[in-house]
Each structure stands twice: as structure tokens, then as C-alpha cells.
Symmetry: D4
Subunit: 251 residues, 8 copies
């Protein structure tokens, strides 16, 4: 559209029916965003070959159906997070190609296979069994974004030997996502053991003074291990997204 607008101006200039000063003036007042769209129109995810993502929480079934349908028409893969089992089942009936992941509380539709193309593996470390839904969301997201993913579960700080006995897995990763609730100490311990970037995900697991994940969040922000960065509480998706950006092979 705006391309057509500029083309018209240029043609008029070319044909001599529009003077250069007038054309300049027209272009100057042409809303810059019209050009801008040309470069901006592909948003971040699309530029990466990443799937389209829907944050399911707070959306109605009707909205989910509409959005998933529309995204599928674009031809890419789709990832819907924060989908309860009940809703997942309804969506499976609507979209035959969809797969529902109970642990990750997520639904995917893979219209084309995902092949790993990162520089290395992403490792997802998880403190307790109650943190698994958040970890599983991270694992699924990372895989769908074209990464090889390793898992290291149930390696909490109070049972340090379980973590130490798996140090090999730690050092083989390109990026490490550490998911923990309660006091959120695991990223500090992992960060002290490895050289890789560590992304910490506080979870809302805990009770009382855990304050729905605030204790873990504060613990991670104050980590004594340099190089730990943090995402929002329960944001397994965001951690995996950031890890994917880090793991991309740009060369």
C-alpha cells in the first residue's frame, strides 16, 4: 500500500508532473511508519523462525480457537502456553494435529518439523518435583525454538550430592536454565560450578513467606554467583526464549 503511494509520487516525478520540492514535501509528511513497517513488520519471533506463541492464561476458549486458527493459516508452528488439561482436550478436538503436554500445561501444533540449529544444548535444571510444570514449559519452548534440550530434575540444594554427581551434564550445555521455588538458591550453586550463562526462573512453589515466588525471585536477583540473570516468576517460556536467543548460531 504505502509502497504504492511512494511509487505514485516517484512516477509523477519521473513523468515531470510533480516537481522535486513538492515530492520532497510529500515524502517528508508521509508518515514515517509507512516505510518503517517494511522493516519492522516481521516481529522478533518471526525473524528467528521461532513458532508463534499464545499466552493462554486469561483468554476464553473462543479467543484461543480464533487465534490458533489464524496463526496456523500463516503456515508456521504454534505454541500455546498456560493451557489447562480441560481446555487442552477441547483444543485437541478442534485441531487434530495439535499435541497437548500435560506437564508443561501447553499445546503445540507443529506444521513443519523443528530441527535443532543452535550452537549447543540448552540444559534445564529443576530443584523440586513441584517446579516441574515450569521446567517442562521451558523444555518444550526451547525444543520448539530449534534447540537440543537436556533435563536435570530434582537436584535441590538440600541434597547437593545429586547435583554434584551430574556435573558432567552441566558443563556440556551452552546455556543453563535453573528453575527453583522456595528459597531459590539453586542458581547460585549452579552458577558457582559452571562457566555458562545461567538464566534463573523463580517459581511460585512454596507457602507462607514464599509469597508466591517472591522469596525465590529475591534470592535469585541477589545471587552471589555473578552471571546469573532472572526472569519473572513461573516464566519458563521467557527463560527458554532468552536461552534460544543466546544459543543461536549467528555465524
Amino acid at each position: 500500500m504505502e509502497k504504492a503511494g511512494i511509487e505514485k509520487i516517484l512516477k509523477a516525478v519521473s513523468e515531470g508532473t510533480l516537481g522535486v520540492p513538492q515530492a520532497l514535501e510529500s515524502l517528508k509528511h508521509l508518515p514515517f511508519e509507512e516505510l518503517g513497517c517494511a522493516t519492522l513488520d516481521h516481529h522478533r519471533a518471526l525473524r528467528q523462525g521461532f513458532p508463534e506463541v499464545i499466552f493462554g492464561q486469561g483468554k476464553s476458549m473462543a479467543q484461543l480457537q480464533t487465534i490458533i486458527g489464524a496463526l496456523l493459516q500463516k503456515g508456521g508452528n504454534v505454541l500455546a502456553t498456560r493451557i489447562s488439561a480441560a481446555r487442552g482436550n477441547k483444543l485437541l478436538a478442534l485441531f487434530p494435529k495439535a499435541v497437548y503436554y500435560k506437564d508443561a500445561r501447553a499445546l503445540t501444533v507443529e506444521q513443519h518439523p523443528v530441527t535443532p540449529r543452535g550452537r549447543g544444548k540448552i540444559l534445564v535444571v529443576c530443584a523440586g518435583t513441584s517446579d516441574i510444570p515450569v521446567a517442562a514449559e521451558a523444555v518444550l519452548t526451547a525444543r520448539l525454538m530449534g534447540n537440543e534440550v537436556d533435563e536435570l530434575y530434582d537436584v535441590g540444594v538440600a541434597g547437593l550430592h545429586r547435583l554434584l554427581s551430574r556435573r558432567g551434564v552441566l558443563t556440556q550445555a551452552s546455556v543453563i536454565i535453573v528453575v527453583a521455588g522456595m528459597e531459590g538458591a539453586l542458581p547460585s550453586v549452579v552458577g558457582g560450578l559452571v562457566d555458562q550463562p545461567v538464566i534463573a526462573v523463580p517459581t511460585s512453589v512454596g507457602y507462607g513467606a514464599a509469597f508466591g515466588g517472591v522469596a525465590a525471585l529475591l534470592g535469585m536477583l541477589n545471587s552471589c554467583a555473578a552471571g546469573v540473570t532472572v526472569v519473572n516468576i513461573d516464566n519458563g517460556f521467557g527463560a527458554a526464549y532468552a536461552a534460544s536467543l543466546i544459543n543461536r548460531d549467528k555465524g
Copy 2:
């Protein structure tokens, strides 16, 4: 500059040395911001004939001197807020035309006279004597932005009759700024009495459970009088800025 670049392309088109498709391609890849700047380059304050404003807090004397000097060269008026008396005196020595307002903890340099051009008056209402610095900052800002300003001070909620006895002043304003600390109840009372937009400014006045203005801020956000909007704690400048935008005569 970028104007020159587009001009060159247009001339080449006009002269037939550049085809329309090639020109289109060039323009398409022209960074949109180059055009964007043409419309964006004048930021908000400048578009309004408002003075240049410097937030003095946290700036060194050297920084203040440099910035004020640079702004004065543009030829407009200058307002520097959050300037202590000690710093104000030093700046007075450096800028002979400057005026320091002790109450408002602010310094101005008026290179050209300010004439009121709003639709009506801005009224600044102030609960207690300790709130006066914030109110005075609002009054000075509003005046410098081209508004007639009225003041109604020391009309706290616990002495309601002082406020009620001045209702005439309330109804004559175009916009009302209400400055209050402690429990921040005054905007609710004023809002219940008038038809004008009310901008509430919580102050950090108080102690203990006032939490540096949080009690007043929450009180104002929860005002039972519809039509009250709120700015940050102690932000007399911001309230006056918003009031000036409301009071402008756009016709």
C-alpha cells in the same frame, strides 16, 4: 541531511537517471527513522512553547552548569527543579538572569516573558504547610508554562471549614491540582465539590506508617471521588505539566 539524501534520489528520478523501481527500492531501505526524525525531532515540551526543564536531583554542579548553559543558547526559558538553596546560590552567580525560588526549590531563567495563554486558571490547593514546597513547584511550573495560577493553601481535611469557605475559588479554576501528604484525603473532598479535572499530588510529608508518601498515594488512587488522577509522590512539576496540557487552548 536525510532531506538531502531523498532530494538527490528525487532529482535523479526527475532527471531520468534513476528508474522508479530503483528509487522505490532505495527509499524502501532508507532507514525509516531518518524521515521519522523530521516529525519526531521536536519533543513534547518544545512543541508547546513550554520551557526546557532540568530535573536537578542527582546531577552534579558541573552537569547543571553545562546543561543550563546549553539550553539557554537555544533561546528559550529554562526551569530547573529540585535545586537546593546552596546550589541555587551558586547557579545565581553563574547565570545573572536566573531567579531562585526558595519555596519551590527551583531556579528559572526567563529569556522572554511568559504570557498566559490557557483556557482558564490552574488552581493549586495545598493541605498543610509542610506540603508547600511541592505546591510551590507546581505553581511555578504552571506559571512558566503559560498559565494563570491561583493558590489555596493550608486547607486540610481536618479543618474542613477553611476549604468550604473558599469554594468560590475552587469553581473558578479550569483544572485543580491538590497537594497533600499524610492520609491524602483532600483530593477526595475537593473532587466531591467541583466539576473540574482534579490532579492529586501525594507528598512524602508524614512519618511512621506514612511510608514516605505511600499512604497518601494509595489514598488518592482509591479516591471515592471519580475524576481524580494521580502523579508520583512529590511530583509537583508533573502535575503542573499535565494541568498545562489540559488547560491549553487548542481552538
Copy 3:
């Protein structure tokens, strides 16, 4: 009534049956509020031709029915906010002229047509699809209060081009309401682009460290764009009310 009382005194004075000092004494002890009521009796909304408003949250169906019925008898329009769909349907059965707005979670009864009478348009800008209920409440309120209203939805900060491509709509508004959850950054961006008063509405959209809208609220209170004022979390009604006061043509 109290008018009758004063009239009686005045008549007695006029007829000479009551001396001036005695009349003075009577009037002096006449509860001031009796006179006061004459000017105060019409509360803010009524003075503006605004509809009667009911905040539905926390009221029983019986209370809603009673209040709506009573307000309708006054002859004006009625707006009930925070009405769930289930309750909306029950009220539609009770009040045949009522209309229920699902998006806005609100019900109206328009007994007389609303004609726009403001100085300009009110624009409601909305960051994400989950923020729409709050935005829709603002739109409906603004329209019912006699304003022309424009909408600009789904223009979040992370997809800046969508916002920039609609700059024309921004500059045509008289007042702009910006509704956003999560980090609440949109009002800063909008405030940096326009000259109009901006009213920011934080929403409770988000999770984890969004703390039910606190993150967005703090973001908006600390906006680096001067001239942004803020209302309570999810308070679309309050923002529209304030915008209506600003948009009134008092001339």
C-alpha cells in the same frame, strides 16, 4: 423544604412581624447545610449531564435491582460497571431497555439519547488483548458521558511499529487514555509522542511479579514522559470520567 423555612422568615420580616435581629438569629442558627444542600444537592455527575453510575462489584442482585430501578425513576441514563455476564443476563430480563456489554462487563439503560458535546475525541489506547475489558469499560463510559471515542487496540510496546503506524489517530484526540498491564510502559511511549493529556490505566493483567497490577501502576507513576497522570488498577471507568471532565466544552 428548607427553602420554605427561610421564605417564612423572610415573609415575616417583610410583614414586620419579625424584627431583623430576631430573623438574623434564626438564620444564623439555621443549619448551614440546609442552604448548602441547595448548591450541593446535585452531585458531580448530575451537574454534568453524566449518567448515574453503579459500581456493581460486591453488590447483591437484589441491591442492583433496587438501585437501578430507583435511578431509572429519576429519568436519566444509567451505567452499571463490573457486572458479570450471568448477572447481566438476569438484569436484562428485569430491565427490558437495558443493554449488556460483554467486553466491558457493563450494563446500560439509555432513557434518552447521548449526543457528543465535548471539545474533541477521547482516544482509548490498549496494549494487549487481555487489557480489553478495562479499555472497553473506558470506551463505554466515555461514550455515555457524551464524548466521541476512538479506539486503538493491541499496540503494545514490544511491537512498537503498530503504534507508530497509527500516529495520526493519536494526534487527532483531545485526551488519550492508555490501558496497559504487565510493565505498563505504553503510556510513557505514547506520552513521548503526543501533546495531549494522557491518562494511564494500569491493569491487573500479568502474573508473578506483576503483583496484580502493581508493576504497571508503579511504571506509570514513574513515567519519564511528563504529563501522564494515573488512576487505580483496572479503573477504566475513572479514567473515562476524568477524560470527560477534561474534554468538556466549558466555553
Copy 4:
């Protein structure tokens, strides 16, 4: 019982079968609380002729039945607060003399009539209709504790004239309880108008930055009207209890 024990010792001393040093030793090791109980055994409420009070929230139906039954056997009046309508109905079936107060969410069993015996009236002032349950709890408690009670409802700060027009009622009270949610400004206004002790009750009414009554609580703690004291959020019972202590005629 322990009285019997001491009596036995004293008798033995009296009869010469126990020496004074031995008796002294016995008494010295007699747990002091045994004597203490004599003065302490009647707890606060009982000393005042106040009813027995049960805080219903968090108790099971079985617990409620047992406790009410036991208290009734003592012969006094009983007040159970925080009783939902559903539970109230069940209790009415169990205790034929019981009365359930829907507004106050409370149940009483009056085994003997309550006659006012305070120095004056207790006035309960209430800001909004949503605050009424808390106000009604205060009214019922105060009445059951032997006070004459007046009510002044729906006199919020944003409609100040409604409050001002009832000033007479304010000045006739001995103690004033002010119940308000949202910004909690009403106690400041009332406190500025009267000479009586004012007890402020914040309610959890509001949304968003009301934070379940925190905004009102902070507002009341920071009241600019000296002489206002505060109780916990929604604690209508506690306010009435304190008011009753103040209103007692000790002469």
C-alpha cells in the same frame, strides 16, 4: 479446688498440726497462678457483663455448635460473628432462641435482655453501602454490650454535604465509630468536626491499589485529625468493643 487446698493448709496451721515454716514453704511452692486464678479467672468480657463472643471464621459447624452450646450453659448472652447466611440458618435450627443478622453476618442468643448502661450513645458512621456489613457488626456488638447505638450511613467524603447535614447526630454521640473502605478519608473529616473519641475501622472494600483494605488502614493511621485511633481491617467487632469500654459509666 485450689481454694480447698489452701484452706486445708490454713486449717492445719490453725489446729497446730502444721508449723508456720512448713506452711510457708508449702504456700511458697504453691503455684502462684492458683491464687492468681482467683483474680484472673474472670476474663475481660465477663467482668463487664459483656456477652460471650465467638469469632466464627475458620471454625467448623461442629465446633460452632459445641462452643455456642457450652457458652449458653453459662447463662449469659452469646454473639457469634463472621457467620455466613448458610451457616446461620443451620445454627437457627439448632438453637431456637438464636437470631441471625444477615447484614452483620452474625448470630446472637440473648438469654436475658440487654439494657443500655453507658454514659451516652455510640454512633456508627459508614461511608458506602459496601461497608455496611462491617458497620452492622459494630452496631450489633455495641448494642449487645449494653449501649444505645445510632447509625449514620452512606455519608462518604465525596458527597460531603450528606455528612455535614447530619452534624447534629455527630455531636450527640459519646463515641463515634467510623467505617470506611477505599481511601479511608472519612475518619479525618469526622474527626475534624467533633470533640468525641473517634475509632476508625478500615474495610476491605475497594479494588486494585486498595490492597484489601491496606490503603484505608494507612489513611486512617495517618489521619491529620488528632484523636483518631484505628482497629484492624473489617474489625467492626473490635471497634464496638473498644467503644463500649470508653462508653461505660464507671462512676
Copy 5:
């Protein structure tokens, strides 16, 4: 003044130069506050024979001097709270009749003797030695407002016997003010022992998770002893003011 205005209207009516309808109209538009002032003009403190009070914190020496001077001219007693020793000494030099109370951080000028006129004594109970400044402010305020005052210091909860051994003093008071920092448990204990109204004053004494008095404030608001009301952190003045209102002999 406004009396003169009404008189003029009445005279005109009386003399037949003003018709009743016109007079009615005039009176109707007469700002109600003019009449209102007649009853409202004496604020709370003045009505009680209480001293004039200045909150010294945040006021400049110049402001203090001006205000104290002005208040003294009214002829009453003056109490200035939150006055540091350094400022106190300067004020002593300015006002020869002034007395500075180091413990209470307060200055008084008693122009006429204060005679106790309450129904009973006010007792000020204090948990720790660090709480004494707040307690002393309460004692001084209560005395200056015409009450007999008793003190019971250093009776913290961890040394319960010190409190229990003074139960006699507790029961002789008309109102009890309990001042405590840290966990703020003392009002609960006192409230459980006595029949009198208890006003709790949290202090900012403590460290770490005391959060400047928040722990004590929350403890007091949640007191399991019914009948305890609370004032702001460190607000010894406010507690004494409320206690004075309770202790007044209105009979």
C-alpha cells in the same frame, strides 16, 4: 462579616426595598460556608481548652519561631513536639517562658496553669528504655491537656513479672496508653489484664525485620485482646490526644 451581609438583606426586606423572592435567591446563593463558619470556626482543640500544638518535624527554625509567637498571642498554652535538643535550646533563648523536655523531645509554653479535669488518670505503660521518648511525649501531652498521668516504664513482655507486680497501677487508670516497639506484644498482655480502653502506640524501636515500627504496628492491629485501638508509629502525641478525649468529664 457574613452576619453583616445577611443583616443587610434582612433590613432591605424589612424596609420593603427587597422582595422576598429576591431575598430568598440571594440567601440561596450566599455561600453556605459563611454561615457554616459560625459553627465551624473553633477547631477541635480550641473547643476543649487544649493547648495549641505544633508538629515540629520538617519545619524551619524561622517557621517555628513565627508560629509559636503567633499562638502565644492568642493567650493559650503551646506544645511543640518533635523538637531536637539543639532547636529546643534556640527556642528557649527566644521564648523565656518556654520549657524544654529532653526525654519527650518537646517544648511547652504554659501561659496559664493546667489543672486536671478528667474523669480519672491516664496511665502510660512503656515496654523498653528505647521507647521512652515516645512515652514521654504521650505523658507530657496528656498532662498539658488537663489529665493526671501515671507512668509504668520498662515492663516488657519478656519480663512479665515486672508488669504483673504492678497490676494495681493498671486497674486504677481511666485509660491506658501502651508504648512498645519490636514485636509490639505488650498491648495484648495489658489488654488481657484490664477493663479500661487501651491505646497502643507502636514505636520505631528495633532493627532488621522490625521495619521501622511496622512489625509492632501489625502486632497491635492484630491484637488478640479485644478493645485495643492503635495510632501511628511513634505517635505518642496522638495517643495522648485520643486518651484525653476519652478521659474528659462531659457530665
Copy 6:
């Protein structure tokens, strides 16, 4: 396993097929955790003969069944906390030897009898009837961990005599757990009366400014009685666990 690895190296050295430097190198690179496991493999609880513990909250029925089944196969006793009555009944059907404790909301399977082996008794003191679930969890945990346990219930601070009359029980304990909600003052009072270690457990009992146990937690952390340590809100299990460690007879 790793023992086998080292053995192989040593044998090769012994047999002369591996040189000392090569063996040294192998051992140096042998992951230290392999050795570490030998000493670390028995986690804390197991070392003590304590039961296996499952935190039931947030686990599915399927997870509970699997975990309990697996732990029973190890032959020890099992304690599952935070089990609702409904779930408890289902588990009773699955595990015939299980016992469900309604008060403690916990389920146990005792495969071998527990015999007390501590240095003394653990006393659990409880402020109010609503705190009993947390106290009961502590009692059950302590008993299952091999301690004699005493209970002292319903001895709140506002009825001090009930506590004082039971001082004998207090002094006979080896460790005292104090469970309290609301203002959480009881540990201070108990701590002032005894010489034993006191572990304070705040409960989420209360409303309004109790903030789900935060008021009690802060009260306990700021206890004026030295020697009081604190666990998380509602963490009866954790308090009993710590008390068991203290009460162990290590001699």
C-alpha cells in the same frame, strides 16, 4: 560403582599395567562427586532414623500414591503432610496400614514402632483453637521422629493466667514449640518464662492486617525474648524437625 572404577585403576597399578603418573591423572579427573556420593548418599533424614516425609500440597493423587508406595518399599515409616480429609480417605483405601490424622491434616504409615529416644520431651504450645492444625502437625511429626510430646493448647496472651497456671509443664520440656497466629506474641511471653530453646511457628490465622501470617512472623522475628528462633508460616513440620534435632541424645 565408582568404587569399582577406582578398584580397577588400583589393580592395574598393582599389576604394573598402569604407571603411577597415569593412575594419578585418571584419579585426578575422576569426577569428585563419585567419591562424594559415598559420604553424601544418605540424606539428613535417613541418617537419623527419621521417617520419610512427603509434602502433600500441590501433588496429585497419582503422585502421592506412587511416592508413598515407593517409600514404603524402603521399609521405613512414612509421614505425608498437608493431606486434605478427602485425599486422606482415598489414601486409606490404598494403603491399609495408613492412619489419617484429621487435626494435623496428615497421614502416616508406621511399618515399625517408634520408640522415644530423645533427651527429654518436646512441648507444643498453641495460642488459639484455629492454630491447632499447625500445632497438631508439629505434635505428630515430633512423635514420629522419636520424641515424647506434651501439648499445651489455647493459652493465648490475652488470657495470660491460663499460661501461667501451667508453668510446670513449660519447665519440664527439653524444647518448646510455640504456635501462634494474629500478633504472634506468645513466643515472647513463653521465652521470658523458661530456659529452654523456643521455636516459634507463625500461623496464617487472622484477617485483615494479619496478612496471612506476616504479622505473626514479624512479631516472632522481633521477639524481645532472646533465644527464640522462627520457622516459616504454618510450618509445624519444620519446627518439629528442628526440635527433634535439638532433642536427640547424641551421647
Copy 7:
């Protein structure tokens, strides 16, 4: 004294000059606290042979001098905590036998030697060098209370090997105090490695979202290692006091 009172009554009974009923009545009204004092008069610290302790923060030099002087007259040892170096030097001049500990910011006067009499050693573990003042306060307190004390400093979570290489020291302690700021993860790690009671002390070390020790406090309260109890921020004294109670040999 009160012993004399009871003796007098008993004598009168013995001599027949006082009837049993009258004696009973007298004893009943004898303030129970008189007897109570007999058992209560020696507060907790004294009963243990512990030193007298003064919390120096917020006390004036004059107060410190008076209190220390008075305590020394009782003949025991004295420990004053939170004493700055400047004040420490002044007190050294006043009390020749005093010793000032710069690291611990504490002053002691040991009038008689302290001999260890606990069941085992107390170990103080410290995460970072900035936490040392709090750790040193704990070490000094524990030693002065008659314990052997070990130290393990600078063993933060991010350098886990330093901690693991000292496991022997950990297992030899009777009680372990763990001092840590920032994210406060160290107690979880230590608690997972040992069988001893662990007392966690959060410190105010850190910045930003450490919130003066709140992050560490929350981390410790939510520790995934059972058996960890917590004291107030920076409360090295309290931790050592509790550890001393645990370490006492009561046999």
C-alpha cells in the same frame, strides 16, 4: 517481703488471732505477683549463668555508662553489643577492665573467667567477608555464654568447594550458626549436609533488591532443608543465645 506477709498471716492463724476464712480471703487477695516474683525474679539470662547483655544501639553514652556500671556491681560478666568503635574507646576509658571487639562491634567486661560447659562446640559459618561483623557478634556471645566456638568463614554458596572441603568441621559441631546476606542460600546447603540444628542469621549485606536483608531472611524462612530455624536480620547475638540454650548440658 511477700514471704514476710504470708508468714504474718500464717502466724496469726497459728496463734488463733485470725480465722481460717479471713486468712483465706487475705491470701486470695494477696497480689499473686508477690508470690510470682519469688519464682520469676531471676530472669532467663541470670538463671543460666549467662552474662548481662546490653543492646547498645539507640542508647546514649550516659545511659551506657550508667547501665554497665550498675550491671558490674551485680558481680557478673557484661556484654554490650552494637557499640561503635568511637563509643567503644570512650567506654574503655571509663571501665579499665573492659575489652572492645572491633569486628563484633561489642564490648565485654569479664569479672570472672568463662569456662565452657556446653555439650559440644558451636560452629559459626559465615558466607562473605561483609557478613563478618554479625558472625563475630555471634562468636563472642557464644563464647561469653560458656561455649567452645569454631569459625568457618568465607564459604559462600558460589564457591561451594570451600565449604565442602571443610565438612569435617561441620560434623563436629553441636549446633551450627550460619550467617549470610544477599540471597541467604548458605543455610540450605549446610542444612543439607549435616545432622545438627542449624540457626540461620540473615544479614543486611547486599544492595538493591536485597532490601536490607529481606531477601536473605525470606530465603532462610523458605529453606528447603528441614531443621533450619531463623532469627532477625543481623541478629548474631540472638542466634548465639539460642545456640547456647541448645548446647547446654542439662543432664
Copy 8:
């Protein structure tokens, strides 16, 4: 050392003077950390060729001198952050090779030149001039850790065009650090424009409801732009450290 110990055992095995079972037993009980240290002894920074880092805040001049001296002896580069200008000057006198960076409030001693060895450039974007100290700390840290660093300063959200006009710089970076105070919206905007990992650093710049950086922190944690991770308030060092780990060329 421990290498020698193992060597001795191996030699004995080799020479036949120690049996394999005995050797195995010795090695089994060999503290695992001795081996562990061999791999763990070089902590994270050292493994990367990163400089030794000292967090200067809260350390005494003597401590700083000692630590810097010791680190220099190891032969590497040294970076000391949070060093005031006054302290910086003193250290310059002590360490002639040191350089003090006023903007970054940091001191370095480069004993060997730093050569960039990352995959790309690190870009540091900074919202306002008051955020520069934090940004400068990040820039200096990143450079010293062997990265090429670009700067983009004063590109706040309210002046969006300044940012948009520099999009080229954004897209050329390998990792982007975004430093912002107040509402912290800049990372969302940057994250929406680029494909690179974005590390957000909230600063304590702002006032009132900025709460020392909490508003910016929450804004960043709730960023609507996926892929943004966050570090602690004012933690420029931590952001640069994490960026360095991401930018390393591991190939």
C-alpha cells in the same frame, strides 16, 4: 598437596607395599573435596581469563588495600567496583598502575593488556544521564573481560526517535545491556526491536514511587518483550559479566 597424598598411595600399591583393598579404603575416605579442589580450585572468573573482581561497597580502606595487593600478586588484572572518588584517589596513591574511572565509580589495575576475544560486540544502552554510573560500570566490566563495547546513551522511551534513529547500532551487537531507572520501560522497547539477547539493569534512579529501583525492576521482570532477562538493581557489573559469558567464543 593432596596430589602428593594420592601419589604416595599409588606408589605403595605399585611397589606392592599396600594392598588394593587397603588402598581403596584410603581413597574412599580421602575427603572427596581434595580431589574436588583440583577441578574446583579455579573459580568461575579465573577459568575465563576474567579479571579478579572486588565489590568495594562496605569494605574498609585497609581491607581494600590488602585484597587488591593480594590479587595483584596472582598476576592478573583487577577490577574494584563501587569505589568512591575519595577512596579511588587514596588507592591511586597506593597502586601506581591503577586507573580510576569516575563515571563508573571503579578502579582497575591492568597488569597485562586485555584483547577482545568475544563473538561480537556488547552494546550498553542507557536511558537517562543519571543512569550513566551504572552503564559505565557495565561498559568498563565488559571491556576488561575481553569484549568490544559500544555505548548508546540518553535514549529514553519518552524520546523514542533518538532510539529509533540509532537502530543500526542495535542490530550490530551480539548482546545488549539496557540500563534504565524510573519506569524501566526501555528494555521492552529495545527487546521489541532486536533479535539479540537483552539483559536489563534497573537503576535506583527516580524518586517517590520509584522505591529505589523497585518500579524499574518490576517493569523489567514483566517486560512484554520475550527474551529480556534481568539483574539486580544498579548491578551493572553483573549484567556485563553475564553478557561476557554469552559473548564468549567457545568454538
